[in-house]
Amino acid sequence: MIKAINPKEQNALEGILKGDSSVINEVYKDVLPSIIYWVKKNSGTELEARDIFQDAMIILFKKLGTGHLELTCSIKTYLKAICQNLWLNQLRKKSKSSDTEISEFEEKIAFDEDILLNIDNHDKRKVFLKHFDALGESCRKILAWFFEKTPLAEIANRMDTSVNYIKKKKFNCKEKLVTAIQSDAKFTELKN
């Protein structure tokens, strides 16, 4: 069940789930500035803030996709809590901040376990997506179709080539992706 604190927020959650650009833009306009402000105030940069905000939006989107999200706070508060947790994790890893500052955050971020779990799951996804994005365009296309279970014959047809070529190309692309992910120190860290 997806539930927000009021009908307006309910529409916004549904818009996010549907990938409605106007709703997404509105959320960006409404929430991102405060995230940038907060991250910059806490040893981060605007780019880092934008990055964690994108992660928070994906975490929210995936959570909505499960069909189970009952918010008892505003979307803005929920996203801010996710961002704060994400940033806190990054600060810990980078040791950018003193212990005092971190414990100060922790007092502010008393949030449900569910968010923390979603954040953990997102770390692995993020590594996968990062290396997927780094592939060439044709590799991304072929693998995206393949992962969506599009038959190889159909992919060959779309790419105007033979099934054998696609089969080989798909393997090469996937191998490139697998190697990149498995060589990523972050991935090794997550595995351990």
């Binding site: 997404i24 306009k29 409404d30 994906i58 996968f128 992962f147 279970k149 191998e175």
Partner: protein
């Protein structure tokens, strides 16, 4: 077995296209072969995470939204809520009390809230997004920021006004006007907001329009407020709030 064959075997297992016999043999191998098991788990995760077309589409939209909020826009854009603090709670408490008061008035007296009351329930000082800094004017700027953040609006307005004698900056003007509004000096605030709006398509235009509408309310001029609020396009960041406010006017 070549790597490509291993991949294809794993893929057909994950896709459920193996024959019962091949599946049974594959599962038997998994019991003895840790490397194959690890490989299967990895590919399973990979397929799971990358097979979501809606996620790929969603990410494209996020990138679009991100690029629409340029670095410069974000520097001065919108009402970022400050970190939770007692100060904030007090502020919210005050706003809530006023809102509750308004509701009581409506219930018991069947009266519409007055324009200044509507102002009080809608006014929230715009988040301070200027950074403290070192260098020229640093002391005065840092002082102005501090005053603003502690809701010492009278002094903040003076400090932001003084800063402009040293350095022309539209954001100083903007904060001066908000501070004036916060200290019930809507008349002066209105003049500054109108000056800012003369700069067409400025980054703070939408914010300024919203606060100008609130200034009209503080001045008990609902017609001007309504007319301005009615001009907000749907894309305006305060469109919904404006619609709600119009209904109360």
């Amino acid at each position: 077995m070549t790597k490509q064959e291993t991949y294809e075997l794993i893929e057909s297992y994950l896709e459920g296209t193996m024959t019962a016999e091949s599946k049974s043999a594959f599962e038997h191998n998994l019991l003895d072969d840790e490397t194959l098991k690890a490989e299967l788990d990895f590919h399973s995760d990979l397929h799971h995470e990358l097979s979501d077309k809606s996620l790929h589409d969603f990410r494209s939209k996020l990138k679009e939204a991100d690029s629409q909020t340029s670095a410069k826009t974000i520097e001065l854009n919108k009402d970022a809520t400050p970190s939770v603090s007692l100060r904030k709670y007090k502020w919210m408490g005050l706003a809530a009390s006023i809102a509750a008061l308004i509701i009581c008035f409506q219930y018991f007296g069947n009266m519409n809230p007055s324009n200044p009351e509507l102002f009080a329930s809608n006014f929230e000082a715009y988040e301070m997004v200027l950074n403290q800094r070192s260098g020229d004017n640093a002391k005065l700027l840092n002082q102005a920021i501090l005053k603003y953040e502690t809701r010492n609006f009278d002094q903040a307005a003076i400090d932001f006004s003084n800063l402009q004698k040293e350095e022309e900056n539209i954001s100083y003007q903007f904060y001066e006007a908000i501070a004036l509004l916060g200290s019930n000096k809507a008349k002066e605030a209105k003049i500054i907001f109108n000056e800012i709006l003369e700069e067409k398509n400025h980054l703070l235009s939408e914010q300024t329009e919203w606060y100008l509408a609130l200034a009209h309310l503080q001045l008990d001029d609902p017609d001007s407020a309504k007319s301005l609020l009615n001009s907000f396009p749907k894309s305006h960041y305060k469109y919904s709030a404006a619609q709600d406010l119009i209904k109360s006017l």
